[in-house]
């Protein structure tokens, strides 16, 4: 009988380690996969194939972009290392934040935590488990995005040796724990030392500072002498910080560059530095976080859903008014979704961080109107902006908008009681999604056209295309979300990662790629004309086709979704 003292001694002497915990997860994963294969092999194959399509599509896109950049030799020299450095700095920031968010929710806010921590699992083993899980969760999407980018880089540098690929993957894997460790500690600090009110004030302060800094930078940049041809130097100076030796991202950048140039020893030593740091930081982070972990856990559990409701906050109050144009029932649903969105930091922080990075990058882009040192370059930057923006939007719609209809299935009785047709319900979901995505996309694009000092006609074109993309993406997410729902699932992340979610992601990426090719065509067509000349007929026709594609795609998805819901009698 294990109640005797010996068993207790055994548990305390050799408590369950992280290996056993990870093994359970591996068994669960294996069950999940074999279940998916057994349940519907076609669905499983389709999902895998679709992911492959996304991956290859991204790879081809990046190859095309690099080829385009290479057309003018100087651009290749400047732009490729820059894209590279920027990519890894962006990864550093994004991974830190997304790790912090995921670590916070998975360390403190799940039933699993309550269960495991009531057993004699040592907090340190538990923290290791969550750390590993967080790393995998937060980096897999970047793997999907990062690998094609890096492979395209290798192709662009045709002299890269075959083992470059091996180097790159090792760098990538060894780099991820560094921001991961930082994110873990950040999550712990938030749970340990900040109570709700302090946290709220801190977020507001940070937002104000960010906005102030942005305005200031815009002013300084826009008041600079427009005719100056010094922009290249200024630009390079500005982004210099991204290449600082102390930043882990620059070890990776330097290492990968060394690998491209076949300097194996140098590349290896950079890899060694990265590995050593990753291991050291992981151990330190887990030790720090598991030290007095139970008291951080107590705080996190106790502060959940505190006393003060945020009903009075202006953002939430506004939610009721934003949708004034919808009839009452639909307005209620849209406003409810917007309120949920505003109250759930997990949803909006990622969006804010992505667009913050976008803005940071934009204010570093020189104005190009007066200066024309490089032909074709002028068209590239708006193209890249639009590309980054629409990928961010696609992430948002497939992660947060897609699950909305499925989640409503939980309250089937509630929505069933409202006198609304499926179509009306979808329209209110769509209105919510459009409001959020257009708000961010519109402000970012306006910022971009101001920074680039684009002529009015071109600015309007950029804004219109962006809004049309929003329309298409939101239509897809809502419509496909209704056509391929997962009503039994409560976890939004799981819904987004399921079959329907993958279909939606692929369709969204295809829309983005189509729109990007349109933008590319516009850029190519106008490569010798520049912004100074007004839009010609072919440009307008290309843009017209793009808009029709986006709008009709969105509407078609909504119609298909609502037809299905009507038949399914939700």
């Amino acid at each position: 009988m294990s109640s005797n003292p010996d068993a207790t001694v055994a548990i305390l002497h050799s408590p369950i380690g992280v290996y056993s915990l990870v093994r359970v997860k591996v068994v669960a994963l294996r069950n999940r996969v074999s279940q998916a294969i057994a349940d519907s092999p076609i669905k499983f194959l389709a999902t895998t194939a679709l992911l492959g399509v996304v991956w290859v599509g991204l790879y081809l896109l990046f190859v095309a972009v690099f080829a385009f950049l290479k057309q003018s030799r100087m651009e290749a020299a400047i732009a490729i290392p820059m894209v590279f450095s920027f990519f890894f700095v962006a990864m550093l920031v994004m991974l830190t934040v997304s790790n912090a968010i995921i670590a916070y929710t998975s360390l403190f806010a799940v039933e699993e935590a309550v269960y495991l921590l009531s057993t004699p699992v040592p907090p340190r083993a538990y923290v290791w488990l969550k750390y590993i899980e967080t790393l995998i969760f937060s980096s897999w999407s970047l793997i999907l995005l990062g690998l094609p980018l890096m492979f395209a880089m290798a192709r662009a540098n045709s002299d890269a040796a075959g083992y470059y690929y091996l180097f790159f993957i090792s760098f990538f894997v060894c780099f991820v724990p560094i921001p991961g460790a930082a994110g873990l500690v950040l999550a712990w600090l938030i749970a340990r030392f900040l109570d709700r009110n302090v946290r709220r004030r801190l977020i507001i302060t940070a937002a104000v500072l960010l906005a102030g800094g942005l305005v200031w930078t815009i002013q300084t940049v826009t008041t600079e002498d427009a005719a100056s041809d010094q922009w290249l130097t200024t630009f390079l100076l500005r982004i210099n910080f991204v290449q600082s030796v102390m930043l882990p991202s620059s070890w990776v950048v330097n290492g990968v560059e060394a690998a491209i140039e076949s300097q194996t020893t140098l590349a290896l030593s950079y890899l060694a530095v990265t590995i050593a740091n990753a291991m050291f930081l992981s151990v330190v982070a887990v030790r720090v976080v598991s030290w007095k972990f139970m008291s951080a856990f107590d705080r996190a559990l106790s502060s959940r859903g505190g006393e003060r409701s945020s009903a009075a906050s202006p953002a939430v109050g506004l939610a009721g008014k934003v949708f004034f144009y919808l009839p009452m029932g639909q307005r209620l649903i849209a406003a409810k979704d917007l309120r949920t969105f505003v109250r759930d930091p997990v949803q909006w922080t990622q969006l804010v961080v992505l667009f913050g990075l976008m803005a940071l990058y934009l204010v570093n882009v020189p104005k190009l109107s007066g200066a024309k040192p490089l032909e074709g370059w002028g068209m590239v930057i708006p193209f890249l902006n639009y590309g980054a923006l629409s990928f961010i939007l696609a992430t948002f719609t497939s992660r947060f908008v897609f699950p909305l209809v499925s989640l409503e299935g939980q309250q089937r009785w509630l929505v069933g009681m409202l006198p609304l047709t499926p179509w009306q319900i979808l329209i209110s979901k769509f209105a919510f999604a459009m409001t959020v995505s257009t708000f961010v996309a519109f402000s970012t694009t306006v910022l971009a056209v101001i920074m680039l000092k684009m002529p009015f006609e071109w600015a309007v074109l950029q804004v219109v295309v962006t809004v049309a993309t929003c329309f298409g993406l939101c239509g897809f997410a809502v419509g496909i979300g209704a056509r391929l729902p997962m009503f039994e699932q409560r976890n939004a992340a799981r819904i987004a990662n399921g079959f329907g979610g993958t279909v939606n992601l692929v369709v969204s990426v295809m829309l983005v790629l189509t729109m990007l090719s349109g933008m590319g065509a516009v850029g190519y067509h106008n490569r010798t004309r520049g912004f100074d000349e007004s839009l010609d007929l072919s440009t307008l026709m290309i843009v017209g086709v793009m808009i029709v594609v986006a709008l009709s795609g969105g509407v078609a998805a909504l119609i298909i979704g609502s037809r299905y819901l009507r038949r399914a009698e939700i």
Partner: protein, 271 residues
């Protein structure tokens, strides 16, 4: 010394909301204790503190002589906790989950097999134990979670709402399981709203209201105290009458004035 659970002057508040107010309660080994109280009385909070998941702002809790605090592993090794929202890994089968729990508590492999076999038979889990738990009904989940808690034959079994969603036959089996554990000298601490079960099996009953223990004793003692009422339901409704507790702050006085104080370990707690 020989107490299974020893709660001394424990106080817990969430922000300004007092959830548990100066609670002192000792459960001797070999007792089946039923913890009653209206919604939001503080039962789950108390249970989470016993399991070391929440820390009281004041007071101490010991389980089998081990202090539950920052490092409560020794105490945790002695107890098993079944939360009010049963937790299972979706993509594990019931059996895989039970084996995992057995490993966590270092139960020898042969022993694990024996216990799983025995519980499968008694709780009639044979049909579904090898299916993924995501396909279980609420009651099936309850059965597996309960079995998991029994895997290491815990000194103290702590259950939040054990009977919700179980069919009458299973309720009977669970009651029997509890009584058998008591015979073996183990302790069971359960929070419940099913007064009938509490009345039928509990050795002692405690009623919590607004974070205070308003009543504690055996069924007979409770009956003696509240001379007019005969059923536990009447006593419960009387002691937790909403009109007796204006507001939820700690200032609310909860004890009917005329309730006589009893000798022995039955008493009505005053603050």
């Amino acid at each position: 010394m020989n107490q299974a659970i020893d709660i001394q002057s424990v106080h817990k508040h969430f922000g300004r909301k007092v959830a548990v107010h100066d609670l002192t309660l000792t459960i001797p080994r070999g007792e089946l204790f039923a913890f009653l109280g209206p919604n939001g009385a503080g039962k789950t909070t108390t249970i989470k503190m016993i399991c070391g998941l929440l820390h009281p702002q004041r007071g101490t809790i010991d389980v089998c002589g081990h202090r539950m605090g920052i490092n409560g592993l020794a105490g945790k090794a002695k107890l098993a906790y079944v939360p009010d929202q049963p937790f299972l890994y979706d993509k594990l089968t019931g059996r895989e989950f039970l084996l995992f729990v057995g490993e966590m508590y270092r139960v020898p492999a042969a022993e694990q097999k024996r216990i799983i076999g025995e519980l499968t038979e008694r709780l009639v889990m044979g049909d579904f134990l090898d299916k993924l738990t995501e396909s279980y009904s609420h009651g099936m989940k309850q059965k597996v979670v309960l079995s998991a808690a029994l895997m290491h034959d815990p000194e103290v079994l702590i259950i939040d709402e054990p009977m919700v969603g179980l069919d009458p036959r299973t309720v009977r089996v669970v009651k029997d399981l509890f009584r058998e554990r008591i015979k073996l000298g183990r302790t069971v601490f359960m929070s419940t709203h099913t007064l009938g079960v509490a009345e039928a099996v509990a050795d002692r009953i405690g009623i919590l209201n607004h974070g205070r223990l308003v009543c504690l004793g055996t069924m007979d003692q409770l009956r003696a105290q509240a001379a007019a009422q005969h059923s536990l339901e009447d006593i419960f409704l009387d002691l937790t009458h909403p009109e007796l507790q204006p507001g939820d702050g700690p200032g609310a006085e909860t004890i009917p004035e005329e309730t006589p104080r009893d000798k022995g370990d039955s008493h009505v707690v005053e603050s």
